[in-house]
Structures are given as structure tokens and as C-alpha cells.
């Protein structure tokens, strides 16, 4: 029996997450597993159409509506919370668990919202919760990265808000549906969505922030923000031509930067942008097949990217090292982690028999069907590039590259496969990667458009094998050029991390110097005086903060009334 409920399923995760810090031990673990299961039940109990309306000003909000697209994304977000929860069962940071679950709830909320205002509210809620996830790694690096992350997302939120208000003002409705980028406000909406997708020029927030989270935090982070952006783009801007170009740029940006990167989790972060680029390109193509491809790819991507970050997280958990220059030869000490990581790497590359093959190929097929030659050739080259930067590079440098025993010798570490729950989470997602690759029909059945796509034809399989195996050949031929160095690669974030600082210092030295410092000190002193003054009167011992007897109040009222009478007669 299905319970027909008008409660947005996202709220179950959000409200339930508040109880997590109150519980300990098995009670907390039980709740962590129970919340996503409950949420999943309610998602599938929501029938098609608007289920809940809330009046707001002159409009009617629809915080709960159901259709195939909403259910697909809500399902994968909840599944991610469930398996991510298993992986994070022994995470000690309560703030992280709370915020990760609330973050997942926000994503489910966005996916099931029927109007712009509800989408915006859940969207901003996610920004706050995800900032907390990063911050809860409790390192100086993660704190600073979380602040930069928050600033970029609040900026994106302001742009989105302007777009939302413009759209509501001009259309007179809060409806959230397909539109065209043909006015300044719809462009603002598109820009706000794209910032969260990791589109240029603000792509740098992602590889800056995600890898600084904890071993489990980055697993949650990889799933929700960019994929809710993919969801809202599928719903609101299908077939928007500019998205093809934005997507193709993201695809190659991800590959090139990942090739230059040394930090294993930053390699995976860049490859998120690369993968979302495929989806954004699919949305730009906009046919039924392309949109199905984007949605299916998002579904499969969440699973294999989480799997990859879990294997990276397991390495972090065991030896607390992230740089390829410090890693290698772990295949002997962490065999299961290596196998799961490699399955994730094959899936992201779209190897036949993995979920990447049955989903990502839809997008390239759509480009071919529409005879968009440049998109098809670039997507093919990019598919080869994915194998190069994520498919081989990640497992090679982390698990192979050196003879076993390297990290043991260098750092005195004793790596082994991680605890049972982490192994279980990796195995679940590894099985799903292969499962959806061998038997994609259950996924095809829940895609937004009817599916008429046959992934396994001998031509497709042989072509994909040729493309990927020769990319692998290129990797080993060019291995010397891929040697890792202790470097980072400058990106757009250089402007807000370095350039503006330099500019500021330049300005102060040339035109102010000592005078400016004096002025600043005087200002600070003035602020201090004001705060001290307020504290004196309103602080715990201040005259205005003490409890007054009723009698004195009556006396003062009498005096005031007397004065009033006096003034009145004068």
C-alpha cells in the first residue's frame, strides 16, 4: 500500500538530520540508514502532478510535484545519501553528518519543487549545508576553502535571485518550466544555474573546495550541487544552443587541468567538471535522446564518481596522503580498494559492460543523429581524454606506478583495506556500475523520455574499445610526460585569491601607506569605543540590562504621563 503524503520527501532528510547529533552509537547509525530509506519510499509515493500548494504573497508555491524527471534525480540523490551514509558510518564529525544529510535533503527538495521560489529556497539551503560539509574537515585549509566556496555560491545565488525576480515580474508566474535565454532575466537564471554546474569562468570553486573536505565529505559533495544544476538545466533550458559550447569547454577544461594535477582528489574534482560538461552538452543538443542521455549520465555519474572518491577517501583514511607524488604501489596492501577504484575508473571512461557505456554514449549518438559534426568529434576526443585523465591516471598513480611497500617505507604507514562499512559501500556502488552496464533497462525505464536506444551493437562496442584502448596506449607511450610534479595549476580563482590582494597592497603602498594605516587604526578605535559604550549599558552589568522592579516602572510611567499632561496644557 502506498501512503499518499503531501510532505516534500527532502524535508525527511533535512528534519531527520537534526536528530543525528543527539544520538550516539547504534541509534545514530540506524537513523542514518533509515532516513534515506524513508525518503525513497515517499519519493515513489508521490504521484504525477502538483501535490502541495502554499500561498506566498500573490503567488502559489508548489514545493512538491512529481514527474519522471523529478523522481529520477530525487532517487539518485537519496540512493547517494544511503550508500554515502554507509561509507560515513564511522565519521566522528557530527556536524559533517548533519550537514551532509541536510545537503542531500536540499537536493531532493530542488528535484521535487514545482516553482521557482521553492527551487531557490532549497538551492540556497544546499549552498549553506555544503559549506558546512567542507568546513567540518576542521583544517585551516578546509576552512579557507569553505569560505571561498561560500562566497562564490552566494554570488551565484544573488545572480539567480535577480533572474528569479525578473522572471516572476515579467511572466507574472512562479512556474518553473522550459524557457529560452532571450532576455536579461532568463540569462541571469541560466548563469546562476551554470555557476553551480561548474561552468566557466567560475569552474575553479569545485577543485578548490571539494578536495579539502574530509575523507567522507568529498564523497557527498561530488554528488549534489553539480547534479542539481544539471537537473534544473534539463527542466528549464533544454535545447539552449549556447549550452553545447559551454559543455564542450567544460569537457576539455576538466581533462587538461586534471592532466596537470598532482592531488588525487583534485584530479577527480576536475573530472566532475569534465563529466558535467558532457551532460551540459547533451542538454544543449536538446533532443529526447540527448536529454535522456544527460539524465542517465547524471545518474550513472553520481554512482561511479562517488565510488572513485570513496576509494580515494579510503586511501586518505588509511594513510592521510593525497598527492600522487606520495602515493603508488598500494594495490597489494589495499586490493579491494584498488579493484573498486578501477571499476569506477572504467565506468567513468565508458568501457563496455559499465554504466558509463550505457549512458554517456547516448549523448554522442544524439550529436551524430543531429549531424552536429563538431560536437560529435569533440565528444569522441573527450571520451578518449576521460580514459586518459581519470580512467588510467587515477588508478595508475594511486595504486600502481611504484613497487608495493613504497608508502610503508616512506611514511611508516601500514595501509590496509578500510573498515567493513566503507568496503561495503564501495562494493555496493561497484556492483551498480557493472550492473547498470550489463543490464541498463531498469534505469532506461525511469528516464524522462521513452527510450529507443540500443547500447550494445557490435559496431559501437568495437569502436569504443578501439578508442579507449588506444588512449590507454597513448598514456603509457607518453608516460614520461605525465610524470607528477609538486605543482598546482593557476585558474580563474587566481584573481580572487591573489590578484585583488596584490592590487590592494599596491594601492595602499603607493597612495596611502602610513596615512592609511593610521586612518584604519582610528576607525577601529572608534568602533571599539562604540562597542564598549554599548557593552557598558547593555552588557551583563549594564544599567539597561538589569531587572527593574515593577514599582519603578509604574513610577516612570506616572512621571511621563505627568510630563505629557504638562506639555499638553502648555
Amino acid at each position: 500500500m502506498m501512503i499518499n503524503s503531501a510532505l516534500p520527501p527532502g524535508l525527511i532528510l533535512i528534519l531527520g538530520s537534526l536528530f543525528l547529533p543527539a544520538l550516539v552509537g547504534n541509534a545514530r547509525k540506524t537513523l542514518m540508514l533509515l532516513l534515506p530509506v524513508l525518503t525513497m519510499y515517499f519519493i515513489w509515493a508521490v504521484p504525477d502532478g502538483v501535490q502541495l500548494t502554499v500561498p506566498f504573497l500573490d503567488y502559489t508555491l508548489e514545493p512538491l510535484q512529481g514527474d519522471k524527471l523529478s523522481r529520477l534525480f530525487a532517487t539518485i540523490f537519496t540512493l547517494m545519501a544511503f550508500v554515502g551514509g554507509i561509507f560515513a558510518l564511522n565519521q566522528k564529525s557530527q556536524i559533517e553528518l548533519l550537514s551532509a544529510y541536510a545537503y542531500a535533503g536540499g537536493a531532493v527538495g530542488v528535484a521535487m519543487s514545482g516553482d521557482l521560489v521553492s527551487v531557490f529556497i532549497f538551492w540556497e539551503f544546499m549552498a549553506v549545508a555544503s559549506t558546512l560539509v567542507i568546513w567540518s574537515a576542521r583544517t585551516k585549509e578546509s576552512y579557507r576553502a569553505s569560505m571561498r566556496y561560500a562566497i562564490v555560491h552566494l554570488f551565484g545565488g544573488v545572480i539567480l535571485m535577480i533572474g528569479v525576480i525578473g522572471q516572476i515580474y515579467h511572466s507574472g508566474s512562479v512556474e518553473f518550466g522550459a524557457m529560452k535565454a532571450d532576455s536579461w532575466w532568463t540569462w541571469m537564471l541560466l548563469a546562476g544555474f551554470l555557476i553551480n554546474a561548474g561552468a566557466p569562468p567560475f569552474s575553479a570553486w569545485l577543485p578548490d573546495a571539494y578536495p579539502s573536505a574530509s575523507w567522507s565529505g568529498s564523497v557527498f559533495l561530488s554528488a549534489f550541487t553539480t547534479k542539481t544544476a544539471v537537473y534544473v538545466l534539463i527542466r528549464s533550458f533544454p535545447g539552449e544552443n549556447v549550452l553545447i559550447f559551454v559543455g564542450l569547454y567544460m569537457v576539455f577544461y576538466g581533462i587538461i587541468y586534471a592532466l596537470l594535477e598532482n592531488d588525487m582528489r583534485r584530479i577527480l574534482a576536475y573530472s566532475i567538471i569534465n563529466q558535467v560538461g558532457f551532460m551540459v552538452t547533451g542538454i544543449g543538443i536538446g533532443t529526447d535522446l540527448a536529454l535522456n542521455g544527460a539524465a542517465a549520465h547524471a545518474f550513472a555519474h553520481i554512482i561511479y564518481k562517488a565510488l572513485l572518491l570513496m576509494s580515494a577517501g579510503a586511501v586518505m583514511y588509511e594513510i592521510n596522503k593525497r598527492k600522487c607524488t606520495d602515493l603508488g604501489g598500494l594495490y597489494k596492501a589495499m586490493p579491494l580498494t584498488m579493484i573498486c577504484g578501477t571499476i569506477g575508473a572504467l565506468a567513468i571512461s565508458g568501457f563496455p559492460l559499465t554504466s558509463g557505456f550505457t549512458t554517456k554514449t547516448m549523448i554522442a549518438s544524439a550529436a551524430a543523429d543531429q549531424h552536429i559534426a563538431y560536437a560529435w568529434f569533440l565528444l569522441e576526443a573527450a571520451s578518449a581524454g576521460v580514459f586518459l585523465h581519470a580512467g588510467i591516471k587515477f588508478p595508475w598513480f594511486v595504486f600502481f606506478q611504484r613497487a608495493p611497500g613504497y608508502v610503508e617505507r616512506e611514511f611508516g604507514a601500514k595501509p590496509k583495506d578500510p573498515p567493513f562499512n566503507m568496503r561495503l559501500a564501495m562494493v555496493i556502488f561497484a556492483v551498480m556500475c557493472v550492473g547498470l552496464g550489463v543490464y541498463p533497462d531498469p534505469l532506461y525505464a525511469i528516464l524522462p523520455n521513452p527510450v529507443d536506444f540500443v547500447p550494445y551493437t557490435s559496431t559501437k562496442v568495437i569502436h569504443m574499445l578501439e578508442l579507449l584502448l588506444f588512449s590507454g596506449f597513448a598514456f603509457f607511450v607518453l608516460l614520461k610526460m605525465m610524470k607528477r610534479t609538486l605543482t598546482i595549476t593557476l585558474d580563474f580563482d587566481w584573481f580572487y585569491r591573489k590578484f585583488f590582494n596584490l592590487l590592494h597592497e599596491e594601492f595602499v603602498v603607493r597612495h596611502g601607506g602610513a596615512a592609511f594605516a593610521k586612518f584604519r587604526l582610528a576607525c577601529l578605535k572608534r568602533v571599539d569605543v562604540i562597542i564598549n559604550h554599548i557593552f557598558k549599558h547593555h552588557g551583563p552589568h549594564g544599567i539597561l540590562a538589569r531587572t527593574w522592579p515593577t514599582g519603578s516602572m509604574v513610577l516612570w510611567v506616572a512621571i511621563l504621563l505627568g510630563l505629557y499632561l504638562l506639555v499638553y496644557y502648555i
Binding site: 597489494k332 586518459l388 568495437i462 578508442l467 588506444f470 588512449s471 585558474d491
Partner: protein, 83 residues
């Protein structure tokens, strides 16, 4: 005792040589398999024999070289942003 038995079997030069031979055999096999299918090219050039093989190889080589070139200008020490 620094002969081959100290080294993990996967790291021995003889194994690596064998892996290369097997790898190249697989590459040749996949291209040879193309003889068994009848491709339906969309754009002409993608129907050429072994298109995916050389296209994959050269686009990867191009991306690695481009990354290398970009690295000359944009690479910094990884302590660059640390105060």
C-alpha cells in the same frame, strides 16, 4: 639476494615486457575486429578504417601536449597560495 624473486611479480622487467606484448596484441586485435563489422559513418571520415584507433591515440597525444604547453605558463609550486 637482489635477483628477480625479491621483486613483486608485477614489477619484474620480464613481466612488464610480457604485458607490453599482450597489450599490443590486444590493440591489433581490436582493429582487426573492425573487418567483421559494417560501419554506418555519419560524417564520412568516421568510416575510415581504424578511425577510432588513430583518432583516440592522436587526440590523447594532442591533449597531453597541450596540457604540457599550458603548464609552462600556469604551473606554480603547490605552496603558492599558502601564506
Amino acid at each position: 639476494m637482489s635477483d628477480q624473486h625479491d621483486v613483486h611479480w608485477l614489477c619484474r622487467p620480464t613481466t612488464i615486457k610480457k604485458l607490453w606484448i599482450v597489450g599490443i596484441a590486444i590493440l591489433v586485435l581490436t582493429v582487426a575486429l573492425e573487418l567483421t563489422i559494417h560501419p554506418h559513418p555519419y560524417f564520412g571520415i568516421d568510416g575510415w578504417f581504424g578511425f577510432n584507433a588513430w583518432f583516440g591515440f592522436f587526440s590523447c597525444a594532442a591533449m597531453v601536449l597541450f596540457a604540457k604547453l599550458l603548464g609552462i605558463f600556469l604551473k606554480r609550486k603547490d605552496t603558492y597560495y599558502d601564506d
